[in-house]
């Protein structure tokens, strides 16, 4: 519990940080725990908190089991029954149903876990195992635990998974109630003794006060694109299965101290591809070290081109400037009035590199080139997580943009930077871009219809995470689409979990390329028109996220047609119905 307080990303002044550092240094672990709870409550209740915490009930026990054969489940049930018989409040859960993040809130945990193959955890416990051994593992100072390891001593890695968990809990600061017991295939006696020992300890040990998790104080608002937050990358995985022709990334960032609300976007300050920078320098015959001025700061040219200036998208001002400098008559002609169609055709698929190569300009000065370029804009990605469910984290869903045009491989600046050149452990400059026009219903009982094909589904993962933690009772209906069920069902297991436990009321999917006739989310909307209209009439909010060019219009048309058909309205009245929904903030879109 001695994480250093460094000034880098704290929402504190130096003097505040110093006082906090001093205080923390004086406190015992128990005092620290109490203070953390006190401060969190203070933040939530505006200061009106008595400084004497109320005692909480002693002896609440979570029995968690992970096993393949069912032996672990059997033992866990027996322990739960014994504990209940002694008047303990018991929660019995399989690792299959256990969200790892819950560990932060556990106080007394009995873990029964088996080992398989070459020392591997049972399938159902892999996620928890990985979590506890990864960089997201939480500190567990307020946890007391005991481990019963099941195994087969004829294997080399006997009871290894139990050993792993035991060591990981200890490493994260948890207090071991008593020594782990390793059971062979004749586990009955050893398991019974373990249970007796556990129940003896849990009944008598002093209760640790349940402290609320530290909620971040202050907002992310002091960070912006000029002063970005440096977020460590925790995870960077491809969501598309093997054989997919798409590459959609799920990226998790550590953002302690940053706050956001589901519906917000994450601004990412990306870097250009250094290979493209090299190529530009080579074509322009400029030195990487040539000093240039960007926003009043002098930088080497290569650094400016990599991190500060847009060097891909071709704009009309750039073209005009280049035409003038290069004396390129053909470019000048394209820019003349009346040649708009030809200009559009020229711009299509071309980027700055194509122009500087095709219309060579020998002897160009570095500053003159930089003068034609605009600042590299941040890219915005809808946040795919809720702080309530994923404390201190921000998740985004990024489709890697790659295509060919005019004989070159092209790559989206931010998406391929994140995909190809950012690894877990690296740092990404980010900020929160609030979006007050994409918010869950304030009333947790109000139903929500969410339409998000492709990466458009990202904010709905955040919405559902948020509603799950809120215990919101409003029904939720999600429409999702992509190319192929087998490989492109983004966050499939998340949705399946929420369908299973009822948070997600229903889900409709459209996989466009799994059959001869292409189907899209708007087709599914039309198929469900009657029910959809009934949801609208019962007060549901409608959210649309994703592609602005085709999808949003097609979905809008489908909604209008459904309202017209089901409500017996003309086309204009149906449009007015949707306009009224939008005015009352019941029809919200996040399209791009």
């Amino acid at each position: 519990m001695n994480a250093p307080i460094t000034a880098a990303h704290l929402p504190l002044t130096d003097a505040q940080a110093e006082r906090l550092r001093t205080l923390v240094g004086e406190l015992s672990p128990a005092q620290l725990l109490w203070v953390s709870g006190y401060l969190a409550a203070h933040a939530q209740h505006g200061g009106d908190v008595p400084a004497t915490p109320a005692a909480t009930a002693a002896g609440a026990l979570t029995v968690l089991y992970g096993s393949q054969s069912g032996n672990g489940a059997k033992l866990a049930r027996r322990l739960a029954e014994l504990a209940q018989a002694r008047g303990l409040a018991v929660t019995l859960t399989s690792t299959a149903d256990y969200k790892p993040v819950r560990l932060r809130d556990e106080r007394t945990l009995a873990l029964i876990v088996s080992t398989h193959g070459e020392g591997e955890p049972p399938d159902s416990a892999r996620e928890l195992h990985e979590y506890l051994h990864g960089r997201k593992a939480p500190r567990l100072e307020s946890l007391r635990y005991a481990v019963l390891a099941l195994g087969d001593s004829s294997y080399q890695f006997y009871c290894q998974t139990g050993k792993d968990f035991d060591a990981a809990f200890e490493k994260q600061g948890a207090q071991r109630l008593f020594e782990r017991v390793d059971c062979d295939i004749d586990y009955d006696d050893a398991a019974a003794a373990w249970m007796e020992q556990l129940l003896g300890r849990v009944g008598s040990a002093p209760a640790v006060r349940a402290t609320p998790a530290l909620t971040p104080v202050g907002g992310g608002m002091q960070y912006d694109k000029r002063n970005p937050y440096q977020a460590e990358v925790l995870e960077n995985i491809v969501l598309n299965g093997r054989g997919s022709d798409k590459e959609t990334r799920h990226i998790e960032l550590a953002v302690p101290g940053l706050s956001y609300t589901p519906g917000d976007a994450l601004g990412v300050l990306a870097q250009n591809d250094p290979r493209l920078v090299d190529e530009l320098l080579s074509v322009l015959d400029l030195s990487a070290e040539a000093p240039v001025s960007v926003g009043g700061v002098t930088l080497p040219l290569a650094q400016a081109l990599t991190g500060h200036l847009e060097i891909t998208a071709l704009t009309r001002p750039f073209l005009a400037g280049w035409a003038a400098l290069a004396g390129a008559d053909r470019l000048t002609a394209l820019l003349a009035d009346g040649n708009e169609a030809a200009l559009r055709a020229f711009l299509d698929g071309r980027q700055i590199i194509d122009v500087v190569q095709e219309f060579a300009l020998p002897g160009l000065e570095a500053d003159a080139f930089v003068g034609l370029l605009r600042r590299l804009p941040p890219r915005l990605y809808s946040l795919a997580s809720s702080l309530a469910a994923s404390p201190d984290e921000a998740h985004v869903t990024v489709a890697a943009v790659r295509y060919h045009s005019h004989g070159r491989a092209r790559a989206g600046v931010a998406s391929t930077w994140l995909a190809d050149r950012v690894q877990p452990g690296d740092t990404v400059p980010v900020f929160i871009e609030a979006n007050e026009n994409f918010r869950l219903p304030a009333d947790p009982q109000v139903p929500a219809i969410m339409i998000g094909p492709g990466t458009g589904v990202a904010p709905f993962r955040a919405f559902l995470q948020e509603r799950e933690v809120q215990g919101a009772t409003g029904q939720n209906w999600l429409f999702f689409g992509d190319r192929h069920f087998h490989t492109d069902f983004l966050y499939q297991t998340d949705w399946q979990g929420w369908l299973k436990d009822g948070l997600l009321t229903r889900m409709d999917v459209a996989f466009s390329r799994d059959q001869a006739r292409k189907v899209y989310v708007q087709d599914r909307l039309r198929e469900r028109g009657g029910e959809l209209y009934a949801w609208l009439q019962s007060g549901a909010h409608v959210y649309v996220c994703g592609d602005a060019t085709a999808m949003a219009a097609d979905v809008h048309a489908a909604l209008r047609d459904i309202v017209a058909a089901e409500g017996g309205l003309g086309a204009e009245a149906a449009e007015e119905y949707l306009r009224e929904l939008a005015r009352t903030r019941r029809y919200q879109r996040d399209i791009y």
Binding site: H116, G117, E118, D123, R126, E127, D152, S154, Y155, Q156, I185, I237, V238, L239, N240, G241, R242, H250, F485, H486, T487, F489, L490, Y491, Q492, T493, D494, W495, Q496, L499, M507, D508, V509, D514
Partner: protein, 563 residues
């Protein structure tokens, strides 16, 4: 009889009881667009329809991290009593493999075809295509009588023809009568399950799978000792006079549970050809009524018999039959392996038995097994006879057409130089599709054999037949416990090594080394093979030698397997 107490029924029994005669909610699961799987409880019901839900285990961990469900897929097993199919059926099945499965056909240790890698949208079309070929998959898996084996190739003798005919008759007689299969797969009109009766099985079907085999000596290719029920043809002057009856064999066990073990069948007696069907039915009925429905690991007929005794079983059976079995007639087996290449039958027709390594019919490099067999099926006028050792016989070739078939065999490189060890080896499917596999089997055994061949050649044993069988788990699909060298998977790259089984499957192997990897397997076998080469007696088989030399004790009964 035991009326099962509903409170003590195991989970699968309760699912069966709720399944409305094997319907479950399979039909709903097939059209659920949010998952490639069916409902968890339906997995137990689906088996009765001849299919297992599986997933590509090579991808399981990768997809979990990608927040994708496992790559669910289905295995479909055809019901093919006696292993016979027509060339037209072969072509139809080959089409299904290409259009709906993973582009291969798998010949199994139970004389039938399996398709692997069928994703849910292809599932029902594949089942309908199998039906259109005049075949079905009913009861190819599940707690019922499975595919009935017979000594391969009905053309070989009148006794072989009789064995095949009995296999078909028993299979038909013991089919479930529910309309569920027709409703789910063939869009038949629904029948009220409440009006259906299962005359043999009753509402819960059997406590566990049930396997029947019919052998014609001297070949024990069906492995009669490994079946719940076996018939052995008894002849007089080349004519069938009846069948010896064996009961209580079975391979499956669970690592670490000594109450589970492989068991050899007991010889019960002799019945006439007319009595055989009644014997089969009543053996099934005794097991239906007395098999353990509380513990699936103790539910096979072998445990029912060991718990109550063979004498009890025989008395109960004869009581139900209303007649006593005659004393068993003498019989003698010589082998349980296949004879490869061309052989002439008694009617002057020819039969070519093709070695198919581990039963996998696929095009691999110059050896285009799938294409070649397809081309043969286009011109062949006889039958394809699948063997119990995962091979196939192109059966009933008229003498005048033999050359044409031989040309195709050459053209597609079907005949392969393979060592005796390889020819007599079997592996189950295991990774990546089988949910039970703890270690590789089909994908790995060929490499291990290459290494062992080096040892065998060095010992001068290249012409000596030795049986070698590998499974990826202890359930024993490739019958490893009755192979002279048995390897049973325990963990990735780790196997239990069993030695000393009888060459024609008449004696169980004994655990010789536990949980060892490839180097240790080779190191364990090398000195034993060297001793065998120098010390063996004339015509002495490897397993017999190891017992005589005291390397392993003879295992006479399943209950001694773990001693």
């Amino acid at each position: 009889m035991n009326a099962p107490d509903p409170k003590t029924l195991n989970d699968v029994e309760q699912i069966k009881a709720r399944s409305r005669h094997l319907r479950g909610t399979i039909a709903d699961g097939l059209v659920d667009p949010l998952t490639g799987a069916i409902a968890p409880d339906d997995n137990a019901v689906l088996k009765f329809h001849g299919s297992y839900q599986q997933d590509d285990r090579d991808l399981r961990e990768e997809r979990r991290r990608q927040k994708l469900e496992p790559a669910y897929q289905f295995m479909i097993r055809v019901r093919l009593p006696g292993g016979e199919c027509t060339p037209a059926q072969w072509l139809a099945l080959d089409d299904i493999a290409g259009a709906h499965a993973n582009g291969t056909l798998r010949l199994t240790t139970r004389q039938t075809f399996q398709f692997h890698g069928i994703r849910k949208p292809h599932f029902k079309p594949a089942m309908q295509a199998i039906h259109a070929a005049g075949l079905d998959t009913i009861a190819a898996c599940g707690d019922v009588n499975r595919n009935v084996l017979a000594s391969a190739n009905p053309y070989r003798s009148p006794l072989h023809a009789a064995a095949g005919a009995l296999a078909r008759a028993v299979s038909e007689h013991l089919l479930p009568r529910t309309n569920a299969y027709a409703e789910i797969w063939l869009d038949a009109p629904a029948v009220d399950p409440g009006t259906e009766v299962e005359p043999v099985y009753g509402p819960l079907y059997l406590p566990r799978k049930f396997k029947i085999g019919i052998a014609v000596p001297p070949d024990n290719d069906v492995d009669v000792y490994a079946q719940d029920l076996s018939f052995i043809a008894v002849e007089d002057g080349g004519q069938l006079v009846g069948w010896n009856v064996l009961v209580g064999g079975g391979m499956g066990m669970t690592h670490g549970e000594k109450a589970t073990y492989p068991r050899l069948a007991d010889v019960l007696g002799f019945c006439t050809p007319e009595q055989a069907l009644a014997v089969a039915e009543q053996v099934v009925c005794v097991q239906r009524d007395f098999g353990d429905r509380t513990n699936r690991r103790h539910a096979r007929l072998k445990y029912t018999i060991d718990d109550r005794g063979v004498d009890w079983f025989k008395a109960e059976l004869e009581n139900r039959l209303g007649f006593a079995l005659a004393p068993a007639r003498p019989f003698a087996f010589e082998r349980n392996t296949d004879a490869f290449g061309w052989h002439e039958g008694p009617d002057g027709r020819w039969h070519y038995t093709l070695f198919v390594e581990n039963g996998r019919v696929a095009d691999r490099g110059a050896r285009r097994l799938r294409t070649g067999l397809r081309e043969i099926a286009r011109v062949h006028r006889g039958l394809f006879a699948l063997t119990n050792n995962q091979n196939v016989t192109i059966a009933g070739v008229e003498a005048a057409r033999r050359a044409a078939i031989a040309t195709l065999i050459d053209e597609y490189g079907l005949e392969r130089e393979a060592s005796r060890l390889r020819q007599n080896a079997m592996a189950c499917v295991a990774m990546p599709s089988c949910a039970l596999a703890m270690a590789e089997s089909e994908r790995y055994l060929p490499d291990l054999i290459t290494r062992l061949d080096g040892v065998i050649d060095a010992c001068g044993l290249a012409d000596t037949p030795i049986t070698l069988r590998m499974t990826g788990c202890p359930n024993g699909c490739a019958r490893p416990y009755i192979a002279e060298i048995g390897l049973v998977g325990k963990a990735p790259g780790k196997y239990n090594l069993y030695l000393g089984a009888g060459f024609h499957g008449q004696r169980l192997g004994k655990l010789y080394r536990e949980n060892i990897g490839e180097d240790a397997i080779v190191e364990a076998l090398t000195p034993l093979l060297e001793r065998y080469a120098s010390e063996r007696q004339a015509d002495e088989h490897f397993g017999d030698f190891l017992v005589r030399a005291g390397v392993v004790p003879a295992v006479a009964a399943g209950r001694q397997f773990h001693d």
